[in-house]
C-alpha cells in the first residue's frame, strides 16, 4: 500500500481546559497514482488530516506511512499546495519555483526545471515577475508549479482553489486534472465543494464533523473529462449525505453558542 493511514486520532487542547477532538480513528489506504478527495463540512478535520499526512502536525495517536515508511516530519517525498499561495514575496516567480531544488540540483538544472514547470501551468512569461504583480489565480498556479518542481510522488492540496473566483477555479481544476493525467502523481485533495470533488477524483472520502471520522468512501466511475450532466446524479447523492452532517454541525454550534 502506498499511503497507509492507520488509527489516526487528533485532539487539540483548548483554552477552556476542554480538549477538542478533531479526528477519531481514521483508517485509510491510498493507492499509488490515485486522485482522492477528502470532502466534508468545515470543522470536520480534513485539513488537519492532510497536515498530519504532510508531517506538519503530529497525530495524538496512530501513524501514517508512505511506502511503508512512517511519516514523522515534512520532507521532499511529499509536496503541498495550501489555500493561500504562500509564495515568498521577496523572490521572483522563478526563484520561488526553484526554492525546493536549491540543494538537489545545479543552477542550470534548476533553471530548466523551473522553466518546464512554469510552462506546465502556462506562466512562462512571468518567470521574472514578483508574486505581488500576479493575480490570485496566477499566484496559485505558481504554488502548484513549485509543488510539482519537488517531483515527489505525493501531492497534497488543501482547498487550493478555495480563495479563488468561480471562473479561475474552473480553469485551475482542468489544469490540475491535466497535470495529474500527465504526471500520474498520487493526489490527496481537500475540498468542501462537492462538484469539485466529483469532477476531479477517482475516489471520495466523506467525513463527518466533531470528531472528524470517515462516513463514506466510494469510487467515482465517470469517464474523464467529466461533464456536468454525468455528474448531477452523484452530486445529489453526496449532497444528501452531507446535508445531515451540516445540520448536525449547525445544531451543535447553536447549542455551543447558547451555552456560552
Amino acid at each position: 500500500m502506498y499511503l497507509d493511514i492507520s488509527n489516526i486520532s487528533k485532539s487539540f487542547q483548548r483554552n477552556d481546559e476542554q480538549s477538542l477532538q478533531a479526528l477519531k480513528d481514521i483508517n485509510l489506504e491510498i493507492k499509488e497514482g490515485e486522485f482522492i478527495s477528502l470532502l466534508g463540512p468545515s470543522g470536520c478535520g480534513k485539513s488537519t488530516l492532510l497536515s498530519i499526512i504532510a508531517g506538519l502536525t503530529k497525530p495524538s495517536s496512530g501513524a501514517v506511512s508512505l511506502d511503508s515508511k512512517e511519516i514523522t516530519e515534512p520532507g521532499p517525498d511529499k509536496s503541498m499546495v495550501f489555500q493561500e499561495p504562500a509564495l515568498f514575496p521577496w523572490m521572483s516567480v522563478k526563484e520561488n519555483v526553484t526554492f525546493p531544488l536549491r540543494k538537489k540540483m545545479r543552477k542550470h538544472e534548476q533553471e530548466q526545471a523551473a522553466a518546464a514547470y512554469l510552462k506546465m501551468v502556462h506562466l512562462s512569461q512571468f518567470a521574472e515577475n514578483h508574486p505581488h504583480e500576479l493575480s490570485g489565480g496566477m499566484q496559485q498556479r505558481v504554488a502548484i508549479a513549485r509543488a510539482l518542481a519537488m517531483d515527489s510522488g505525493l501531492l497534497l492540496m488543501d482547498e487550493p482553489f478555495g480563495a479563488l473566483d468561480e471562473q479561475t477555479r474552473l480553469v485551475l481544476q482542468e489544469e490540475v486534472e491535466r497535470i495529474w493525467l500527465e504526471t500520474k502523481k498520487t493526489i490527496v485533495f481537500v475540498t468542501h465543494s462537492i462538484r469539485e470533488a466529483i469532477k476531479l477524483s477517482d475516489r471520495i472520502i466523506i467525513m463527518s464533523a466533531r470528531p472528524g471520522s470517515i462516513i463514506s468512501d466510494f469510487k467515482v466511475d465517470i469517464e474523464r473529462p467529466r461533464q456536468q450532466q454525468d455528474m448531477a446524479k452523484l452530486e445529489e447523492d453526496v449532497m444528501a449525505i452531507l446535508k445531515t452532517e451540516i445540520e448536525n454541525v449547525m445544531k451543535e454550534e447553536l447549542q455551543y453558542a447558547g451555552n456560552h
Partner: protein
C-alpha cells in the same frame, strides 16, 4: 494645487511673518534676528567651511554610532524573538530603556568617557539600539506561519529556514527599525554634541548660545531640521516604500 506649490507658499508666508515681526522691533535683534541675517550667517558658515566641518563631524559620529547600534539591535532582536526567557527578562528591561530620553545618558557618558567623541558615540549607540531591537524582535516573531509551513514542506529547516525564510520575511520590520533608529540616533547625537568640546553641529549650537549669537543658533536649528527631514524622506522612506511594495504589503503609491 500641486503639493510643492502649497509648500513653497507656506514657507514664503512663514518667512514674511518672521521678517514682519523683526521689523516691528518689539524684541531686540539678539532675540529675534531677521531671516536675512540668519541666511547670511548660514552662508558665511559654509563659505569659511566651519559649518561644513561641523556637519562632517556630526555625520561621522552618527555613522559610527548608528552602525554599531544596528548590529547590536539586530542581534538583541533575534535573541529576544528566539529565546523566550530572554524576552521575558531582558525584553522588559529594553522596553523600559526605550522610554528613557537619550539626553539622560549624556552625564553618564561624560563620567565614563570624559568630553570625548567616545561619549557622543556612546549616546548615539544607546539612542538607536533599543528601537532597532524591538522592531527586529517583532519582525521575526511576526513572520507569517504560512511561509514557515510552506518552507518546511519543501524540506527547509533549522539554519536554512532561518536565513532563507525568517530573515528575508522580517526585512520590512527591520527596515522600519533602521529608519526609526536613525531618527532616534540623530536626536541623541545632538544631545551628546551639545555637551561636547566639538566639532559638531550640536557643539556649535551650544557655543553660539554661549556667545549670544542668535542668528547662528537659529541657522543651526534649521540645518538640523533640514538634514533630518531630507535623510528621512529621501533615503529611508523611499527604501521603506520600495521594500513594502516588493514584499506585497502596500500598494504602489
Amino acid at each position: 494645487m500641486p503639493v510643492i506649490i502649497k509648500r513653497i507658499l507656506f514657507f514664503a508666508a512663514l518667512l514674511l511673518i518672521w521678517h514682519g515681526i523683526y521689523l516691528l522691533g518689539i524684541w531686540p535683534e539678539s532675540m529675534i534676528p531677521s531671516p536675512l541675517t540668519v541666511a547670511q550667517t548660514i552662508y558665511a558658515g559654509f563659505a569659511d567651511m566651519t559649518l561644513v566641518y561641523d556637519i562632517i563631524a556630526s555625520f561621522r559620529h552618527l555613522f559610527i554610532g548608528l552602525s554599531i547600534s544596528l548590529v547590536i539591535g539586530t542581534l538583541l532582536g533575534v535573541l529576544l524573538a528566539k529565546v523566550k526567557t530572554a524576552d521575558e527578562t531582558l525584553g522588559t528591561m529594553i522596553l523600559a530603556l526605550q522610554s528613557v530620553p537619550s539626553i539622560v545618558w549624556v552625564p553618564l557618558a561624560i563620567i565614563w568617557f570624559g568630553f570625548t567623541e567616545a561619549s557622543i558615540i556612546f549616546v548615539v549607540i544607546i539612542g538607536g539600539t533599543f528601537v532597532m531591537t524591538m522592531n527586529m524582535r517583532i519582525g521575526i516573531k511576526n513572520v507569517a506561519p504560512m511561509y514557515l509551513k510552506a518552507a518546511r514542506t519543501m524540506g527547509s529547516k533549522g539554519v536554512d529556514l532561518f536565513f532563507k525564510v525568517v530573515v528575508p520575511a522580517s526585512i520590512p520590520h527591520a527596515v522600519t527599525g533602521v529608519r526609526l533608529a536613525w531618527a532616534f540616533s540623530w536626536r541623541a547625537l545632538m544631545a551628546g554634541e551639545m555637551l561636547s568640546t566639538g566639532p559638531g553641529l550640536g557643539y556649535t549650537l551650544s557655543y553660539a548660545s554661549d556667545f549670544n549669537n542668535m542668528s547662528l543658533v537659529i541657522g543651526i536649528i534649521i540645518i538640523i531640521g533640514v538634514i533630518g527631514s531630507i535623510v528621512d524622506q529621501l533615503v529611508f522612506q523611499r527604501i521603506e516604500n520600495k521594500v513594502l511594495k516588493r514584499w506585497g504589503m502596500e500598494e504602489a503609491a
